[in-house]
């Protein structure tokens, strides 16, 4: 029953830093929403403003249809999990989980029962009497989650809750978190700067840059059709190749290489117009020899990605990266010809995407699935 709405939300810190700059955003009930962006773009600030830990400079926040802009944190009915988990070291796990209930003056017996129940759901039953200092990082994270869950808030706010875990634990915790959120169906806002995490977990993602939302969409949309060159270069495990080009006779001329125009964009391109041609390294193949519509360059660096190799070519168009098969033998200095996949190529005019996302990839992963109960 709790959607979150922000209207023209702005936060200016005392020093004059504009950490949020007119955010308009609606997060649906039961949605798993990720905030993604480079360091210092205002993700934490947005979360803290939702929680009421920072007061908005202007604009409004609503939770579940209620305007909470002026309410103190304790009355917004949200729970937050901090990056350091913020478990109280002098309280047992059980007392930690039951802490919000204690503040709500729930009687002791009910409280302990509730804590034990929540702990059981998260597999913490054996640790109820321990202190947080006697738990592993992953267990601490689950205690923090349990504390957030125990008081049945309308909204969960997570600020990089997985960043203290090692890579392996992180994967586990990620799957666990996703399942938990599905079961509980609680609206969740999740801050991360690990984009793999955001792509894997979220129903929708907002990519932020210096206090503004640069793109809002499903993980598939954001990955396939980055709305602008900022998002394009930010999203993806290897940064997208963004090459300066020019329209020439129905093709794009990138430093002498004539590349085909992506489907559906042939109209509306003016001859001689300057554009940016975007292609992910994953969608660039290395041809065996000189080929039509290929980017030519000398192999400079070969990086092993495990099951593939990332090759950096230096040509007239600058550096171009391509992902090639692990069996391919490449020697630095050799000339490579990189051929883009036409259906994955993107065109940007003045930094904004020209491609249109196909309609069916729109509202994928419907929110609200979890509210069956």
């Amino acid at each position: 029953m709790a959607d979150i709405s922000m209207a023209a939300l702005t936060k200016v810190y005392p020093g004059g830093v504009r950490a949020l700059d007119g955010i308009d955003l609606t997060i649906a009930d039961g949605e798993f929403f990720a905030l993604l962006g480079p360091s210092g773009c205002g993700k934490t600030t947005l979360l803290r403003t939702l929680a009421g830990l920072e007061t908005a400079s202007s604009g409004s926040v609503g939770i579940g249809g209620r305007d909470v802009t002026a309410l103190p944190p304790g009355r917004r009915d949200v729970a937050m999990v901090f990056q350091d988990y913020a478990l109280f070291p002098h309280m047992s796990v059980s007392d930690n989980i039951a802490y919000p209930l204690r503040i709500q003056k729930v009687p002791g017996a009910t409280r302990r029962e509730k804590a034990a129940q929540t702990a059981a759901e998260l597999g913490l039953t054996d640790y109820l009497d321990r202190r947080p200092g006697q738990l592993s990082g992953g267990q601490q994270q689950r205690v923090a989650l349990a504390r957030a869950m125990a008081c049945h808030p309308q909204v969960f706010l997570f600020d990089e809750p997985l960043s203290n875990l090692d890579a392996r634990m992180r994967l586990e915790a990620r799957t666990f978190l996703k399942r938990l959120q599905r079961e509980l169906g609680v609206t969740t806002v999740f801050v991360t700067h690990d984009q793999a995490e955001a792509l894997a977990l979220a129903d929708r993602i907002a990519v932020m840059e210096s206090g503004r939302i640069r793109q809002l969409g499903t993980p598939a949309e954001v990955f396939r059709y980055p709305a602008n060159t900022f998002v394009a270069s930010f999203i993806g495990s290897t940064p997208m190749n963004l090459l300066d080009g020019q329209v020439a006779g129905g093709r794009i001329d990138v430093a002498g290489a004539l590349l085909p125009v992506p489907e559906g964009l042939e109209e509306g391109l003016a001859e001689g117009e300057k554009l940016v041609y975007g292609i992910r390294p994953e969608y660039l193949g290395l041809a065996e020899g000189p080929a039509e519509g290929a980017l030519r360059g000398a192999v400079r660096v070969v990086e092993n990605l495990g099951s593939a190799q990332l090759v950096t070519l230096e040509g007239e168009s600058g550096f171009v990266q391509a992902v090639v098969d692990e069996d391919r033998r490449l020697t630095p200095g050799e000339i490579g010809h990189a051929v883009p996949r036409r259906d994955r190529a993107l065109l940007y005019r003045d930094g904004e995407l020209l491609n249109r996302a196909p309609a069916e990839s729109g509202p994928a992963g419907r929110p609200g699935e979890g509210e069956a109960a």
Partner: protein
Amino acid sequence: MPTTSPPDAGLAPRGAGGQAGAAPRPARDRDAAGLGRPRAAAFVTPALLLIAAFLVFPALWTIYLGLTDYRLTGLAAADPQMVGLDNFTDALKDDSFSHSLGLTLQFVVGSAVIGQAGLGFLIAWVMRNRRGALRRLVEALVLTAWILPSSVIAFLWIALLDRDDGTLNAALHTPGTAWLLEHPMLSIIVFNIWRGTAFSMMLYAAALGNVPPSHLETARLAGASGWQQLRDVVFPRIRGHILTNLLLISLWTFNDFTPFLLTSGGPEDKTEVMPVFIYKLALSNGELGFGAAISVLMLLINLVIAVVYMTLLRRRKEDAPA
């Protein structure tokens, strides 16, 4: 997955190297600086001699004096006699001793434990999120009271509390009130709070800086009131600081002689706290032996205070591992 095996293999030799490197450590622990025993002793001797001359010897001398009927003047000054534990038993039976002890406890509890610690914490708590001019001003004022010499401060306070031209009487429109005569204990308690709050304030300010903001915010999100935040997050976190602070200011206040500069222990004996009592006894009345015995008792009381706090501190460490 094949990718996990190389790191595992790489760990093994590192572990073995760590063990080998740990072996010679106990030998080095015994002689960390590598000086050898004689040279190390030579470095320590001067300090030990100074301590012996200026600390151990006077202490032992006081105990010895406490066992005699030594006086400042008269026959007993020339030829003091051993009287055994008489001085001590006399003191414990003496009404003026227990009276003075009672006053000292009032003074310590009122001005140090409640006053300085309470006010110091309050200021530190109110100022915790402030930066800039206001905070610096408050800190500067409080610190000034702390660093000024006692004699200067006593003079200032006598001027403040003066019956005829006192600043306080002018401010409160209570001409002719002799504060030091009518409320002597209250006066020296307020005086000592004013004088000594800086230490507690600084210590608590540093301690509050160690309370993670996320812990306070978690409590706030749960709906905790200001008092609940203090009780559940702040106090458990800074308990060690609180105990250390109370230990130090209790001992300092217990041994503080400055009230004498304001009231000379009077009127009558209403502000005759322990140090003043001993001073009057030994140097005004000349009963050096008796005074020394009471000094030893005072030392023992100090020890008891210290032991109580240290026990509390130690219990806390066992309570909260990590």
